[in-house]
Each structure stands twice: as structure tokens, then as C-alpha cells.
Amino acid sequence: MSDLTRRTAAELADALAAGETTSVELTQAHLDRIAAVDGDVHAFLHIDGEGALAQAAAADARRVDGKPASSLDGVPIAVKDVLATKGLPTTVGSKILEGWVPPYDATVVTRLREAGLPILGKTNMDEFAMGSSTEHSAYGPTHNPWDLSRIPGGSGGGSAAAVAAYEAPLAIGTDTGGSIRQPGAVTGTVGVKPTYGGVSRYGLVALANSLDQAGPVTRTVLDAALLHEIIGGHDPLDSTSADQPLPALVDAAREGASGDLTGVRIGVVKELGGEGYQPGVLARFQDTVDLMVGAGAEVVEVSCPTFVHALATYYLILPAEASSNLAKFDAMRYGLRVLPENIDSPSAEDVMRATRDAGFGDEVKRRIILGTYALSSGYYDAYYGQAQKVRTLVTRDFEAAFTQADVLISPTAPTTAFKLGEKLDDPLAMYLNDLATIPANLSGVPGISVPNGLADEDGLPSGIQILAPALADDRVYRVGAAVEALHVKAWGGPLLAQAPTLEGGAR
């Protein structure tokens, strides 16, 4: 194949191992692709061509020595701008961190570097990961490669669009309420939210600490598993990281690729479907359920009654934690500093106020206010305390459901990609995008979104979400890879092959 950018990460790794290409060559190919299409897509906030090529050259040198650092040594990657990268700007999509260059690497980034993956750059996101469309980025929205007038999902729209537009074979996303999975669904790519604690959060600029989780953004399930095994596992710098080995994820993905689901019990979550879901999304979901039954799966309907409260619960816990996390952005030590007008000798407090006013966008301010309110004395029990109780109930619903099924499935997002600007003035409509993905974050269970065909009414991608019990991430890979294989067989190729060619593209 002439165009290196269209190959999967696993294929690129094989080509590198076989000496058919070099990391410098394929890194350059992706940088060229970025130069050609990112003006339209705007997946990247920062591109580090020089650094990526230097890392590629080092990877090539290791190959020559016969000492590759990992299975993906030399395969380039894009990193969501929420992860601290030493020497590379990290803005978290916010003006308040414009120009900040971290003096340290997030653990995920350290592991990528140690594994030899050249970092192409940092991808766009909703400011502080607050949003489902990437429109809340302070640096302008990312465009969906399927239709540039539409949103790529969010908050990790940049990572999903970069992978969908063949600007990177792999990317890192973070998922607090669906920010990996929902962009995956609306861009026709794969996204995995690992078990909470499965991937270190050290260096991940926290949105909501008890919900955040970094994970792979890729075009295939196998690629996600390969990447997950590199970034996952215990980290002593993150007290909440699980102190146990990861399950064999790549093996699970390879096993699932046979497409056989004999004996696998699949639970369709009654509460995650129906009203509020686009008919085309539901139709494709039913198609896949039928394919799974055909592949030997035992499909049952399960009920998780508390999931209907998940969204409300989420919008108390998230803003509460975020309001406290975002207090550190005060102009004292790093990032933006704005001196207030009309004050001769401003106090530290005046500078904090002016900086936070100028540096935070409206959605961020909205959630700081919500969270501050929810934690206030006299309201804590009614809001934050109550939300934590519901969270426990959501976990119990999951536990009960997982006695009936090995994995649970639902549409990943209720709709396909909407038009840029369409929901910008309606926060509640925007929040509904994460209806199906939020329960997994509240409970900490792992989930994957796999491309699930195009909705009839708009011809845009939809996704299927597969959830497994905590620490059983291998199940989402096993079943995800099977669904992917069944689809490729049914469609004659991956969904992304049906995406329109981008203007600047060399496809």
C-alpha cells in the first residue's frame, strides 16, 4: 500500500518490524497528512514535527540494533492536550493555560516515550474537557472529517478527528463522561475508556478526578488493545491506580477477531435506548444485535433503573470536583496573568479575579458556579452527598446486570454528529449526548465504542458501546473485536472506508 497513513498501527508495526518502512518515513507521512488536511479539520492545537522526527530516528536506531522498545516502537501518536507533556505546550483547550509548557510528563506520556511512539502533537478539546462537541475549545472547534460542518464529538474531538482523518494512526483521549467513546461513535473510530484506575491519571489535568480516565483512540480494536497495554498498569504516582496487572488485552482482541461469540452473554440495557435516540442509530444498533445473535451470542435485556438518574448525578459530582480542581488557575505560578483595568496597585485577589474572568470560557464558569454551589454548606448533603449515594446505586445496578450478562451493550451516543453551533446555546441538549456513556464513569467500569454503521437519515456514523465489569477490560476487547469483524464481513471493509475524501487529502 502506497499511503502509509491509511494503515492501522498494527500493520505499521509489522511493516517496521519487517524493515519495509522506517519510523522517520511514516512519521513524516503523517506530518505531511496533517499539513494537508488539518487546516480544514483543526484536530491539532500544537504540532511537534521536529520532536516527532527525532523520536522516530531514535526508534529506527533501536530497530537497527534489534532492540525495539515495544510492539509499537516507531508508530507515531497524537496526544490530547489535557496530558502534561514536558517541553510541549499544554493548554487543556483553555486560554488560561496559553503558553504553559509543563516541566514534567504525565505518566501516560512517559510510557509512550519509553515505548518509542513519536508524539506528533497535541489535539484539540473542549476547554478543560467540558463539552461534547469540541466547540468549547478556546482555540476554535475541530471539524468532523465525515462532514466538516459537523462536530467531531467531545471533549476529545481532536483525537478522534485526527485518527479519522488519517492524521495519526493512534491517539490518546480522556473520558470523564464519554469524551473518548462519543467522539469515537460520531467519527467512525474506536475509543476505549479503561477501568477507573487502569491507566494512571498522573499528569492528566483533572476535570473530575473520580471520573477521569485516559484511554486509546484508534481505528481498530486491535490497535486500541496494543496501545492500552503500553499506557496501562499500576503507577505509584497515582494513588487511585489499580495495583494489579492488566488482563491480556491484545490476546483478547485477537481472539475476538474470529467473530465467534458462542456462549457469550450480551445484555442490552433497557434504559439506554428508545426515547431521545435517533431512529437511524437505533436501527443500526438492532442490526448489530442481530449479527451478534447470528455469531452465537446469547442476548438478554437487562434493566438498570438508576441509570435514568445518572446524568443528574454526573452534573453534581463533576462540577463539584471541577470547581475545586480549577481553583489552582490563579495567575500566581503559571499560565495567563491579566492585570485588572482601573486598579492602580492590584492585590493578588484582584489579579486572580481578572485572570479567571478573562481566562475561563462560559461553560467552565458555568460548571465552577454549579460545583461551588453544590459543595456549599447547607447544600452539600442535598446535592453532592445525595449524588454519591446515587452513584453507589448505579454501581449496584451494574453488579446486578453483570450477573445476567458478560457484557452490556447500548448505542454509544443517542445521535450522530450534529451541526457546529446547533446546540451551543442549549447546555442541556449538549449534556444529553453523554446519556449512555456516563453510567460507566460513575461506576468505574470499562467501555469501548466500536463503529456501528451509518444512520439512514443522514448517512453519518453511529457507534455501539460495550461495557464490562471493572478490571475485566479484556471482555470489551474480545467482544469489540468480534463486532468489528462481523461488520467488516457485512460491509466488505471498515466503516471509515466509506468516509468522504478530504479536499487536501492524497487518498
Binding site: P102, Y202, S324
Partner: protein, 499 residues
């Protein structure tokens, strides 16, 4: 601005004080509470910092196990219950020297709770109940440059040193101390002093009040005598010497009473303590409704010390202070009064260490409660902070015991020690303080004294031996004090036929 004060007796005639003490103890762990940074005191500003203690975006805390161990040992020594499961919480407020704009502390789940300490005041025991002892991190330190007061108001600019940010603290909070009456100031001081001794014995902190490794906040309120309701309290922050604890309580009692007598009402506020003038000034208003929006720290897992570990730590506790005193009194042969005075002067530990370094008990007591106590009082510092160590005192006493120094010369050695002139031996040599035991030199001086004081000499020859003192004084003067007075006396009596 001068506060009106009521005499202490008048305060007591009309009011009952309620006292509360919050003591922050900086632990002496090698690394900080939530990161691996060093904790050394006095390092160059912002050299002991990392992403975590600077609050950089993305950085996360990890609990220092050694700090948890110290917290549990402090709790056990204070007769506290140790939580089987507890969490850290975020205390949210904005301040430039607080890197994250929240302090990682503990809120409704402290690691230690429901304890007490028996405090000795003038031979009586007073039980101070401990509500809680919890773990938290220290803030950075602001330096306000320009302006007259060193406070933020009027400063040209401020500098922040984050070396202290994240140093582990244990905050020990008493329940309201009621019924102390006139003894309130003394109880406050004795509590902090005994707590400090305990911390020293546990070895969990440098326990230097002058360096801020122990900081006391004094809460005080007055209620009309016989009232069963507590009055409005003030919280005097960072009272950094034992003497100041006593003075601050006394001052606030007198200030409160003046306001209440005048028909005024107390403002619930923090107060700044001024060591130099001995007064407090208004800090910031502090209402019970101050809203720190506490919630459990989501970046940390709960702390759940096993009962086995707690019992293991209980086995490492130093001797109970009351039992220890009884044991030492017998071992040293001190009278009740001598022991009480020693404790009251804050010298128990000093005397103990001096004896351990080789001095006789009475000699150790004499130096610390006499000469050194007087000097510390003159210098307006605590005895322990005066600048002479127990080992030095023992070395001085050893020189006295060897006949190389007398008490008067020893005082000059202490001058040298405070001035940092070296060891006692070095100071004796450098200052030429050694006693002259050469009988030739002494004999000549005695002859001179007899010749110059013929009338006194005659009296002695006539048997009035008591008159020898005048001649001894003359000899000592000639020898500039560097003579053994006993030997001088012997020589005088010998020469005048009275030996």
C-alpha cells in the same frame, strides 16, 4: 491603637474563661506529606518543590506513610482513638501561598479523636480533653516586601516560598477547656509545654517553636460568671513561644472583659499576636459560617491503619509523662518542690539530658534553674531556646568537679558558649579562665593580702576564723577570680597559725 484592659482580678470576678488550643506540629519526616520533596528547614527559596507541591496542573498527591505513622503515634500518646478508616478532604479557599487553592486536610474523619492529656499546673493535675488530631499539609510562606509592618497591607510586592508547601502537619485540637479560672493562662502554657515535651519524646518533630515547627492558636472567650453559655471567641494565631501562650491568654481575657464591661459584644475574629509588645491586633473576621466547601479528596484512597499496626506503634510510645516524673524524682532525689520548680521552668527534659551527659542531679538542676533561667529571662526567651545545650552544661560541670573552674568562672564560660566561641574547654583556654592551683602563685597573693590587711590578719590570729572571708576576697581579686577559694582559705589559715 491601644486596647483598654481590665485588671486580671477584675476579669476573674465577673467572668469565666473558656479556652481552646489548636496546635500545629510540623513533622520531621524526610519528605513532604504528598510528594518526595525534601523538608529541610532554611533551604534557598523554592528549591524543595516539585509538580505536586507546586500544584501544577495534572500533578497528584501520594500519602507519606511515615507521616501517617507519626500521626498515629501522636494520637496514641494523647490517649486518642485511632480511626479504622478515614479520608483526606479538601479545604477550599484562595490564598497566594497555597498552591492548589485548597488545602488537603482532614474534615469529619480525623485519624485520631477523643483523647486527653493530664497537665500539671502548680502541683495540681488538670485534664485537657483532645477532640481530634488530624493530618494536613502546610502552606507556602509569603514575604511582603516594602511597607513598614511586614504585613501585606502597604507592601510593594510579595514573594512566595513554596518550600514549606506540603510539609506534613498534625493539627491537635482540644475541646473547650472550662473551669480553668485564674489558671487559664498557666494551663494554656503548661498544655503546650507538655505537648511539646511529648512531641520531643516521640521524636516526630523538631519541636522548635521559634522556627514554627510547633505553632499554637489560642481560642478564648469569656462568659458571665455562672452562665452556662459560651461567649464569642477570638482566635489568636501563631503564638510562637510558651511564654507568649500564657501572655496571649491573659491579654485576651483582659481585653475581652473590657469590651464586655463596656456593654460591647465580641467580634468573632482571628487576632495577630505581637511578641514584642505583648498585644493582639485584629486579623480577619471569622464566622462559623465560613464555608470551606470540604469534600473528600478524590485523588487519594482512604487511610485504613490495621489494628495490628496501631498496636505495634503503641509499643513504640515513650513513657507516660506522669509516671516518668515520679520515676525521675526518685532517681534524682529531688524534693516535691524541686521537681515542681524544674517542671514549671520547662527544664525537666534539659535536666534529664544534662544528667544523662554526666552531671550530678543537683548540679544540673542548679545551673538550669539558677544561672541559665535568669539569663533566659533576661533575654526574654524560653530556657530551651536560650542557646546552651545540656551536653555543654554537663561539660562545664565536669570542669567544676575537676577543680578546673569555679562557679564564677563557669558563668564566663556560658558567655562564651552563647557567643559561639567553641566548646567549654576551648573557651576556658581561649579566655584564660582556668583556676590557678599553683601554690607558689597563690602563696604570694596570700602574703600580699595579709600584709595589706594587717588588722584582719590579727583577728584571725586571735581565733576569729570567720574573718578569713575578707582576706579570701582580696586574694581572689588579685587572682582575677581564677583561684580555688577553698585552697586560698587553707593557705590563709595555715599562714596565720589556725590550720
Amino acid at each position: 491603637m491601644t486596647d483598654t484592659l481590665v485588671s486580671f482580678d477584675d476579669v476573674l470576678a465577673a467572668y469565666d474563661p473558656a479556652l481552646g488550643l489548636e496546635v500545629h506540629v510540623e513533622l520531621n519526616t524526610a519528605s513532604k506529606m504528598f510528594c518526595g520533596c525534601a523538608t529541610e528547614f532554611g533551604a534557598d527559596p523554592n528549591t524543595q518543590v516539585c509538580p505536586t507541591c507546586l500544584g501544577l496542573p495534572g500533578a497528584m498527591p501520594v500519602v507519606n506513610g511515615k507521616a501517617v505513622e507519626s500521626a498515629i503515634r501522636i494520637g496514641l500518646a494523647l490517649n486518642c482513638e485511632i480511626a479504622e478508616w478515614c479520608r483526606f478532604a479538601r479545604k477550599n479557599y484562595f490564598y497566594p501561598d497555597m498552591p492548589k487553592n485548597f488545602q488537603t486536610s482532614q474534615y469529619d474523619e480525623p485519624i485520631c479523636f477523643d483523647g486527653y492529656m493530664d497537665v500539671d499546673v502548680d502541683g495540681e493535675t488538670f485534664r485537657v480533653e483532645i477532640e481530634r488530631a488530624h493530618m494536613e499539609e502546610d502552606t507556602g510562606k509569603s514575604l511582603h516586601v516594602g511597607g513598614a509592618t511586614g504585613r501585606i497591607h502597604g507592601a510593594d510586592y510579595s514573594l512566595v516560598d513554596y518550600n514549606r508547601a506540603g510539609i506534613p502537619l498534625i493539627e491537635i485540637v482540644t475541646r473547650p477547656i472550662l473551669g480553668a479560672g485564674e489558671k487559664a493562662p498557666a494551663i494554656a502554657k503548661a498544655y503546650v509545654a507538655q505537648l511539646r515535651d511529648l512531641i520531643v519524646a516521640l521524636g516526630v518533630s523538631d519541636a522548635r517553636m521559634d522556627q514554627g515547627s510547633i505553632r499554637a492558636d489560642v481560642n478564648l472567650s469569656l462568659a458571665p460568671k455562672g452562665s452556662d453559655k459560651l461567649g464569642t471567641r477570638t482566635e489568636t494565631k501563631n503564638v510562637n513561644s510558651l511564654r507568649s501562650v500564657e501572655r496571649a491568654v491573659r491579654y485576651e481575657m483582659q481585653r475581652h472583659a473590657a469590651i464586655l464591661d463596656g456593654g460591647g459584644s465580641m467580634l468573632q475574629e482571628t487576632r495577630h499576636w505581637h511578641e514584642d509588645t505583648g498585644i493582639t491586633t485584629s486579623g480577619r473576621e471569622k464566622s462559623d459560617a465560613d464555608d470551606y466547601r470540604y469534600f473528600p479528596e478524590p485523588d487519594l484512597v482512604p487511610v485504613a491503619p490495621s489494628r495490628e499496626w496501631v498496636e505495634e506503634l503503641r509499643g513504640t510510645l515513650p513513657e507516660n509523662p506522669t509516671q516518668k516524673r515520679a520515676r525521675l524524682q526518685v532517681a534524682w532525689g529531688f524534693s516535691d518542690l524541686e521537681l515542681r520548680d524544674t517542671v514549671g521552668a520547662g527544664a525537666l527534659g534539659l535536666v534529664e539530658e544534662t544528667i544523662a551527659a554526666g552531671a550530678a542531679p543537683q548540679a544540673a538542676r542548679k545551673w538550669w534553674l539558677g544561672e541559665l533561667a535568669r539569663r533566659a529571662k533576661e533575654a526574654d526567651v524560653e530556657l530551651v531556646e536560650y542557646g546552651v545545650t545540656p551536653a555543654q552544661v554537663a561539660a562545664v560541670q565536669a570542669l567544676v568537679d575537676a577543680g578546673k573552674l569555679n562557679d564564677k568562672l563557669a558563668r564566663q564560660v556560658f558567655d562564651g558558649l552563647v557567643a559561639g566561641e567553641g566548646t567549654p574547654e576551648e573557651i576556658v583556654a581561649a579566655r584564660g579562665l582556668a583556676i590557678v592551683s599553683d601554690d607558689g602563685a597563690l602563696s604570694a597573693a596570700v602574703d600580699n593580702a595579709i600584709a595589706a590587711n594587717a588588722d584582719v590578719a590579727d583577728k584571725i590570729r586571735d581565733g576569729k576564723v570567720a574573718a578569713a572571708g575578707a582576706l579570701i576576697g582580696a586574694v581572689m581579686k588579685e587572682m582575677r577570680g581564677q583561684a580555688d577559694a577553698g585552697r586560698v582559705r587553707e593557705l590563709i589559715l595555715e599562714k596565720l597559725g589556725q590550720a
